[in-house]
Each structure stands twice: as structure tokens, then as C-alpha cells.
Assembly symmetry: C2
Homo-oligomer: 466 residues x 2
Amino acid sequence: MLESPKFDSLEGRSHEDEEAIYGLNDQTVQQIREFLDDNKNDEIRQKIGALHSADIADLIEHLKPKHRSKLLDIADDLIEPEVYSDLDDTVREDLVDEMETAEIAELVNELELDDAIDVLDDLEKDEQQDVLKELPAENRMVIEEGLSYHEDTAGRLMQRDLVAVPDYWDIGQTIDYLREADGLPGDFYEIFVVDPRHHPIGTLRLDHAMRSRPNVPVSDVMHREQKLIPVSMDQEEVAYLFQQYRLASAAVVNNSGALIGMITVDDIVDVISEEAEEDILRLGGVSEDDLFGSILETTRTRFTWLLVNLFTAILASVAISLFDATMEKVIALAVLMPIVASMGGNAGTQTLTVAVRAIATRELTASNMFGILRKEAIVAFLNGCMFAVLIGLVSWAWFGDGDIGWVIALAMVVNMVVAGVAGMVIPITLERYEIDPAIASSVFVTTITDIIGFVAFLGIASMVLL
Amino acid sequence: MLESPKFDSLEGRSHEDEEAIYGLNDQTVQQIREFLDDNKNDEIRQKIGALHSADIADLIEHLKPKHRSKLLDIADDLIEPEVYSDLDDTVREDLVDEMETAEIAELVNELELDDAIDVLDDLEKDEQQDVLKELPAENRMVIEEGLSYHEDTAGRLMQRDLVAVPDYWDIGQTIDYLREADGLPGDFYEIFVVDPRHHPIGTLRLDHAMRSRPNVPVSDVMHREQKLIPVSMDQEEVAYLFQQYRLASAAVVNNSGALIGMITVDDIVDVISEEAEEDILRLGGVSEDDLFGSILETTRTRFTWLLVNLFTAILASVAISLFDATMEKVIALAVLMPIVASMGGNAGTQTLTVAVRAIATRELTASNMFGILRKEAIVAFLNGCMFAVLIGLVSWAWFGDGDIGWVIALAMVVNMVVAGVAGMVIPITLERYEIDPAIASSVFVTTITDIIGFVAFLGIASMVLL
């Protein structure tokens, strides 16, 4: 009888230890770094041989470029093509840049279609052509077709290998076919049932097929209801379909409706992570994941967003400068001024975060936007009133001037309501004009809350106090 | 021959139209609202009957509470239990709150285990007991066991129904068992192979099983390498395993290593969305998804974060007040002062966003943190220098005073470097003390960049200009 070694190693471990069981741990990385420095090639090969390809990818990401090249020299044969699929795009591009054309062709040839296309897509046009020339004709055709689909569409996500059977077959014929056919996909959950034009008409889940007698017709067991994915559908839309209808796999069809590929839920897991990551980074003012980017690249991509922010900050300063005479007379205004702007900025960010997320998950649409906008305005007003009282009392106590308390309280209510409304209206408007709300909302909202914050406070002050 | 109606409706559609094909569209929502107002019950029932359960859930979320109750009265029998699984938690809680104990019991009884537990978990302790009492004994036991696992652990995610076969069976026996057994799970991708103690020793993919001859022993076809999931593992960890090793399903084991359930990749899709959503909302200062929350609830949850921000804003004002004499003499300082703080805040937010995300995806760990911190500091310095030149020239031109230009330039470099370092060090430190970096990083970072921004600028000014 066989024992599972993994299970035994689990026994008696506490919850804290669990993290160490799976994935790459820092000690391993450290050890391999030392081995690399000391040229202990056998030890390195032994360590690498014991790691899962996904963990080898993590290891490579964690190493310095110098160590990466050394590792590839020493353990090249142990590093399977899948490692390249799992690598961060930036790191993979760096590695591929150092390869000869023939090496790239060999790698591309061994990768799964979607990964092969990713690698080729990163190359310069000439180099891409050179690599394509080195590929076997059949593979080359498939890859060229893949490259012809737009990035981030179903065409790029799908795999071409799938199992399709005619609807007049029975389960027995299907099983015989599976046992004898070559070139079937590595993993699949469903068999597609097609008509003579190769149009999908239903799907046969493997578990349902296995539980049916051999003489049952496929068309009796298949599900007729299926979500077909046009090859040009955006990957975000594809991910939505998989989530909304809990799909395990789905057929991809071309413009004339013929079955040309399939997408499985494990590909979607990556898309969902990517799309969520994109939203998180964009909301934080980062255009792309640059953790592994070079210093110059990272500096450049961050610069753009900061430049926009410099412009809006200067705009806010111009607004302040309108009231310099007022501030000169009552310097307490200069001291308190950032509070109203900061609270507005935070309240606005709260609302816009909820809005951006709800737009992405389609919880916020044209049909409920007015109700939700009304709610946000009331919430903003209620919180505005509470914080008005708080900051009014603090300011009064601090500067011993009741008027300053009133002024800041009033400005607070105004700016909080503006923040709540802008935080909802701006992402909705951007979405309507097909601008990604995640990328642009926060600069608009904070510019508005800064300027309104300063102008409301200093403006009311110059009317009341002077 | 059968025609797929879905395919025909796709033909000739442009990319823009695709969005309308799947999911709920705003026109349908609007129409149902009107039907509800006009008491057109037959039309409502017809519309609902044509919708997928996931789309009915979206519809209910989009309606006002008054319309929701009315819809449930009219079309109760058309609303399958799955609709409740797909509903937003807040909305589901509202609906369940209005049900009688017997109705809740009926719903719980029909739901899948994880959803049944979710519904029960939201109830008050007494009501939970009342509902449990109404359940059939067998179901009750399973649910009570489920409730005993911590929220957000593998125990809550897993389903109990799975297919396990002994390793001495052959493929033929396995297929016969599948054809005859009752109570098999609705959907499954893998069969678990267990030893006599019911410990998992391998997995048999359905596609591999189907492609093998009946007389082949299961142990010849099964994969021995598998990732076992302890029942107490955190769901974030489970999602990491599925993503890292591209799992389709995995066995869940209890403390003594026996197979007690399985988790499939489609459950993980939801976990990944949830965890990413949590990070996005927390980074935006929102503690939970409150789109469908009541006005008072939303006001309350937003208040906490804003209160923290009020405190830090006052702290920044106190810092400014140290330099009120300086500002009174050179009012240009009050005008320019928010720029340095704002640029620091944005640069800090960029870095902390990258750091929080990289910690969540485990790209940033102890083993590469010093390298990345060094890089961020250099990036911050480079951008700091560029923006120092820009803002220095702008300020010089604006106020015709070269000294003000020098002062703001110097303060900009200081604050940008502080921002870059704090944006990286703070999330890493919070993570080390097991505080979620997404929830607390941004308040720390912006407090630091505000205070350093004001103090550096006004402090250098009071030395240079006075």
C-alpha cells in the first residue's frame, strides 16, 4: 500500500506552520543564493530538481539578474518550459532578451499556445519573424493565428486543443474515440458536441459522460444551454461570464459561429487576478506592476502620474493664492486649511473606491445609479455634519475664536457633500465615456475636493472674518 | 439537426453589441420596475422565468426594498435557491431577516452546503438554533459541522460530496461505481484515491480515467503528487495554492489526515475576487463592500476611517502651526505648502500600492525586500530631483523669489524620498506584525508625508528666508 508522504508531514503541525509547507520559502531562496555565490552547482541542481515549476519561477523572480543568468547556466535542463509561463512578464522579457533566436524558437515550441504567444508578443517585429521562421510549419500557423487576435481577448486566452464529437454519437463511441485519439488536450472538463458545420450545440460534462451507459446517445446527456464566447470578446467580459454563470469551460466561436477553441476556468483565475490587480494599481496611481521593473522604467512610469498630480497641486495653490490677504490677517486659516481638503479627499476616495469596484463587478449600472448617488449624498451629508461639529469645537478651543469654528464647520459640510457626489459621479461619467474609471477617477476627485476644500474654507472665512 | 439559438443571435453582431448578450441589461431592470409598479404579475413572471438564476440575483440587488418584497411575493416559486447563493451578502441578509423560521429552514435545506452555512452564519444565535431544529437530522449534522469551522477557512469552502475510490480498484470498477452510486456530487473533475484509513494517496482526473481501458488499475493512472489542504487553512492560502499550482480541485483533510471534503477551482474564483475586492476597498479606506448597505450602516462604517483621518489632519495642522510666524512674514509659503505634502502623499501611495499588492501575491518577501527597498529609494530620489527642478522653477517664476524656489525644491526631494521609503517599509512592517497592510498602510504613509512635507518646507524656509 502506498503512503502519501505529504500527509505524514502535515500531521501534528500547527496552523502557523502551514504556510511553510507549500510555496517557496525564504530560507530556500537564501540557501540557493549562497550556493550560487559559492559555485556549488550540484547542490543547486539538487534543490532545483526538488522544486515545482511554479516555485522555480518564484525563485528566479527573487534573484538578482546576475544570479538569474548563473542559475540558468547551471540548471538549464532542469528548468521546464512551464517555468517561463509562470514568470512575471517583466522578468520573462529580460530572460528572453538574452536568448539566441534558436533558443527562443525552441522555448516557444514547447510552451502552451497562450504562453508561446505571450513570449512572441513581447519581441520586436523582426525578431518575432525570425523566431516564427524557425518553428515547424504546423505550430507556426497556429501561433500566427493566435498573434492575429487582439491582446486581452478570448482569442488569446483560448486553447485550440479540445474534444468535439458529433451529436449522433453515443457515449460508447465517445469513450472509444478518447481512448484512441492522439493530440487530445492535456486537461479538459467537458466535451463539445457539434453539428456537421462544426457549430457547438451542447456540452457533455465528463462526469455525466462517465455515469452514462455506453449505448446512450450523446445528445441525451449533453447540456444544451451553453454560453458561447465570440473570439473577439474582451477577457474581462469572458471572466465575468465564467463568474456569473459558474462555468468550468466554454466554447469559443469565430464570426461564423464555428467552434475554434475552448477556455477553461483555470485560465480565468489568472484573468480575474490580473484585472483586479490592474484596478488596485491604477487606483494607487501606478500604471503597471513594476515590482520587477528596472529603476529607470519604474521612475518613468511613476513620473507621468506624479506630473499630473503636480499640475493639480499647483492649481490648488492658485486657488489658495486668491485668499492670501485673508490668510495674512488670520494666520490660523493657513494652519487649519489642509484639514478640510484632506477630509474631503478621504471621503471622496472612499466613495470612488466603492464606485469603481461596483462598476467593475457590474453592481452599479445605469439602472440603480440614481438611488446609489442619492444614498452617497446623504451619507456624505451626515458624516459632514458630524465632522463639522468635531472640527468646529476643536478649532474654537484651539484658537479661542468661535467664528473660526463656524467657518471651518460650514466648509467641512460643503466639501464632504461635494466629495461624496464627485466620488460617485466622476467614475460613472468616465465609464460612460469609455475611460477606465480606475485610472482617472482619483485625480479628478481629489483635485475637486482640494480646490473646493480650500476655496470654501478661505472664501467663507474672508466673508465672515474680515 | 439541432440549432443553437444562441449562436444565431450572435451572427453579424459587432463587438459593441456583445455586452448586451449576456448578463442582465438595464432595459430589463427598468421594464420589471414598471411591471412591478403597474402590478403586471403575468409579465413579471414571464420575464423572471426567462432569466438565469445569477441574473435574477443581480435584478434583486438593483431593486428598491419595496420592489424586492413585491417581486418575491409574485414570483417566489420561480426564484430558485441558487439565487440566494448569488446574492450580495447585505441584500441576502435583508431578505432572510424578513422570512419566517420555517421558510429559512426550507431555503437552507435546498442550498449547497457552503451557501447554507453562509445564510445560517448571518443569523442571531437563537434564530440559528431554531432553524437548525427544523432541518432533517442528517443535513443538520453536516451543517453544524460546517458552522464549527472558522469563517474564511478551507472547512467553509469545501463540499462534502466527493468521489473516493480504493487504490486496488481498476478503471472498470470505478466507472461501474459511478454509474450505480447515488448522492454523488453535482459536478466534479477528479476522483480521489484513498487508502483503507481514508487517507488520500492520489487523484484520478476524469479525462485520464475515460481514456484508460477498464482493466487498468486506478493506481496506474492516478497522479500521486497532490496538494492536500488542511481543513483549517485560511481561504487566502487555499486560493494561493490553486493559483500557484493551477489546481482544478484538491482534497481537504482533517487533523489526522483523512479525506473529509474537496474544493474545486470554481469556488476559488469567488475567493480570489473577494480577497482582491477586500484589498481594493481597504486601500480606499472602506472597511467593507457597502454599496447595498443602508444609509446608517454606510455612514457608520465610513465614519471610523474618517475619524482616524481627522486626527492625522489635526496632527499635520499642529506641525504647520509651529511655523505660523514664518508664514505670516512670507505668505507665499502658505500658498505653496500643500504642493510638497500632496506630491509626497501621491508618491507614497504609488509605492505602498505596489508593496501591498506584491505582499498579497507573495512577490515581495523577506528574501528580496532589501533589494526592492533600495530600488524604491532610488526611484523616489530620481523623481524627487526632477519634480524639485520643476516646482523650483515654477515657484521662482510665480513669486519672483529664487530662495523660495530653492527651499521648495529641497523640501520636495526630502519628502519624495521619505515617501518612497515609508511606502515600502510600512506595509512590510505591518505584515510582519500580522496587521493587514491594505487596511492601515495608507493612513501611516500619508500622515508621514503630510507632516514631513509641511515641516521640511516650512522648516527649511524659516532657516533660509528669515
